[in-house]
């Protein structure tokens, strides 16, 4: 009896000690997720820059953008678009990009997430690599030679820029290859809209690609546009635009953002800018079009193309009628001139599917831009509500 009692009490002591040790041994398992969670949270917090940037007025920031002298850099650009366009089967993760030139490829580039590496070395050298899974689309510019390469079908296209085009667009090209807007291009476009219609402020500093930047915020003064806010991050030291975010009215997350995730101001390796079509590839020479800019955009969409840039494309298509001003601008085309454009837009099965029937035509609706294709073949586009487009279509009739 007595020995039994002793045994059991000893067992109890041992057991409680064991339990404490058991608890200790599960401690790492409990601690590891906590450490990871804390690490993730601190990593995702907007890192506050060590030295706050000197305060600047919007005009001073704009001037920095206008005069920045960054001609050589390399970086990784990430674009995330949530425009409300239909998710395409072709845009799935495992499949490679749609063939260039089709409307599907435009939508593909305008939806979802894309990563591109950008190398710019001086005025005449640029390379953009749109990184897809197991595929890549490259635009290489070396002097007057421009190469497009798609690894998916192993095709290379060559274009020789005429000298005068080069001159007229050289300031633009310092920011990116033709047809491939870098944040600089996008920022310039938005900045060019700055007029009494827009409230421009400088928000709290942001950190983009590890660099502290001024946050230039543009807010339309009207309620009639779909755009709620445009935020442009301007590098605090060089004045180079680093990211652009466009938020739709009433939304809390940007519908479109494009910005650097990594940036180096060193001159990239010159060998990146020489391109020789790989053996076995299909090489096509693209004739130089009379107006280089528009067809280049249409046939070889670079990574981003803001909804804004659809406007110049459409403008170039035909005789254009413009209604409204500022953010409420509606661009329309006349029936005869745009018949083919409308037909080709709707001829694309994907676009035809995306366009919903509305009174007076079919509507291609996104978070930031609406396009109305009327039954008689006219196209109206604007960053406004569909009703405005319908009104413009009725007025132009």
């Amino acid at each position: 009896m007595g020995s039994n009692m002793l045994d059991s009490s000893g067992g109890l002591q041992g057991r409680s000690g064991l339990r404490r040790r058991t608890w200790l041994r599960w401690l790492p398992a409990a601690a590891a997720p906590v450490v990871i969670a804390v690490g993730t949270l601190t990593g995702s917090l907007p890192a506050s820059a060590g030295d706050p940037l000197p305060a600047k007025t919007p005009a001073q920031v704009l001037e920095m953008v206008g005069t920045h002298q960054v001609l050589s850099f390399s970086g990784t650009l990430e674009q995330v678009a949530d425009l409300g366009l239909p998710e395409l089967p072709a845009a799935g993760k495992t499949s490679a990009p749609a063939s260039p030139g089709s409307a599907a490829s435009v939508i593909e580039l305008l939806s979802g997430q894309h990563t591109a590496r950008i190398y710019v070395g001086g005025k005449d050298n640029a390379r953009v690599q749109v990184v897809d899974q197991f595929a890549e689309r490259d635009v290489v510019r070396h002097g007057n030679d421009v190469w497009f390469y798609s690894s998916k079908d192993n095709t290379a296209e060559h274009l020789t820029l005429p000298a005068e085009t080069r001159d007229s667009t050289s300031s633009k090209d310092a920011q990116g290859a033709p047809g491939v807007p870098a944040p600089g291009d996008l920022a310039q476009q938005f900045l060019s809209r700055i007029d009494p219609t827009t409230a421009v402020t400088v928000g709290p500093d942001v950190v983009v690609a590890g660099r502290s930047a001024y946050n230039l915020v543009l807010e339309p003064r009207t309620d009639a546009t779909l755009v709620g806010k445009v935020a442009i991050a301007v590098d605090g030291h060089t004045g180079m635009p680093l990211s652009v975010q466009v938020t739709a009215r009433g939304a809390d997350k940007p519908a479109f953002r494009s910005g650097f995730t990594a940036l180096s101001l060193d001159t990239p390796d010159q060998s990146l800018f020489s391109f020789t079509p790989p053996p076995g590839s299909t090489v096509k020479d693209v004739p130089v079009p009379a107006k280089t800019h528009e067809p280049t955009d249409a046939q070889h969409p670079g990574p981003p193309a803001s909804p804004d840039q659809l406007l110049p494309q459409l403008e170039a298509k035909a005789h254009v009628s413009v209604a409204g001003t500022g953010w409420e601008t509606v661009v329309g085309t006349a029936a005869g001139a745009s018949g083919s454009a409308a037909a080709s837009l709707l001829g694309d099965p994907l676009l035809a599917q995306a366009a919903v029937a509305v009174p007076g035509g079919r509507l291609l609706s996104t978070a930031l831009l609406n396009v109305l294709i009327t039954d008689d073949g006219r196209i109206f586009a604007g960053m406004v509500a569909p009703e405005k487009l319908q009104a413009a279509a009725a007025a132009a009739r």
Binding site: G14, L18, R25, A96, V131, D153, F275, P277, G280
Partner: protein
């Protein structure tokens, strides 16, 4: 050390008492017992002298052979059809390596790693040899570490087996020449071999997290098949979740998220971002499931 071997029951059911001490002595026989490196060496020797391991490696190596032979006997593959790089094989045999590594990553690799990692602890427990391994003054933590390193060694060898077999069979059946990278540049075959090894390294890192999960599951049971199946199921579930656009917020946290990112090794210059993110993610999984396996294994009553 009563706490390290609690509740030991000498007559464990269903074990082979003849074989068990023999195996245990074979392990510790190669060096001083308790020396970590010799323990590891003997574990690797046991792992890679096991017929099952060789069967797994042979099955993996059969993938490039099958692909190469299929492409050889069939007509030309049009570009853009089938898995990436398939259409390039007829021009350059080295693409067999890339294609076979690509097709093996979603299923065959996790399958093989699931078998090896799920077997680590549960296999010994199932054979009744786990007790003997712990009787040797090795300690449970060291045993766990050695078992995990053994599984990692398999993760390194498996993609290398596929890649090198692919390069060899491709060179045997097709012409070999400069390899066109995704960026449109070409590299010489020697540089391409470096890229194959880089991809193998990427895949090995990718599988580290799954191995840790397998190790943890292996400490949960004495039935090795259960741990293997559970590990494979976990990998499939992770891959399915990764395909659901509704769960986009979850995707960066899935251990299979970067598995197919090794195409970045085929760019010019190499894009290291996915390698880094993948390594970080896998390290997180190794930490969490390694800690779980530790908690489970050092507190568990070893019955067999």
């Amino acid at each position: 050390m009563p706490s390290s071997l609690p509740a030991e029951i000498p007559q464990a059911a269903g074990t082979a008492p003849q074989a068990a001490p023999q195996r245990a002595s074979k392990r510790s026989g190669s060096g001083a017992p308790g020396s970590g490196l010799s323990f590891l060496a003997s574990e690797l020797k046991v792992l890679f002298s096991r017929r099952r391991t060789w069967a797994l490696l042979l099955a993996l190596a059969a993938i490039p052979v099958l692909i190469a032979v299929a492409v050889k006997v069939s007509s030309a593959v049009p570009p853009g059809r089938g898995p990436a790089f398939l259409d390039r094989i007829t021009q350059n045999g080295l693409f067999v390596a890339f294609t076979s590594m690509l097709v093996s990553v979603p299923l065959f690799m996790p399958l093989a790693v699931g078998v090896v990692a799920g077997d680590t602890i549960a296999g010994e427990a199932g054979l009744g040899t786990l007790r003997y391994l712990l009787v040797a003054p090795a300690g449970r933590v060291r045993l766990l570490l050695v078992k995990y390193v053994g599984a990692l060694a398999f993760c390194v060898v498996a993609p290398l087996a596929i890649g090198l077999t692919g390069a060899a069979i491709g060179a045997a059946l097709f012409p070999v020449g400069p390899v066109t990278l995704l960026s449109g540049g070409v590299v010489q075959p020697a540089e391409a071999a470096v890229r194959i090894v880089l991809i193998a390294a990427y895949i090995a890192v990718s599988l580290a997290g799954l191995s840790a999960i397998g190790l943890f599951l292996s400490t949960m049971t004495v039935v090795p098949v259960g741990a293997m199946a559970a590990t494979v199921v976990v990998s499939v579930v992770s891959e399915v979740l990764d395909q659901l656009p509704q769960l986009e917020w979850l995707h960066p946290w899935l251990f299979s998220h970067y598995w197919l990112g090794f195409g970045d090794m085929l760019r010019q210059p190499v894009l290291w971002d996915s390698f880094g993110s993948n390594g970080l993610l896998q390290a997180g999984y190794v930490a969490v499931f390694g800690a779980l396996a530790y908690g489970r294994f050092v507190t568990k009553d070893i019955l067999s």
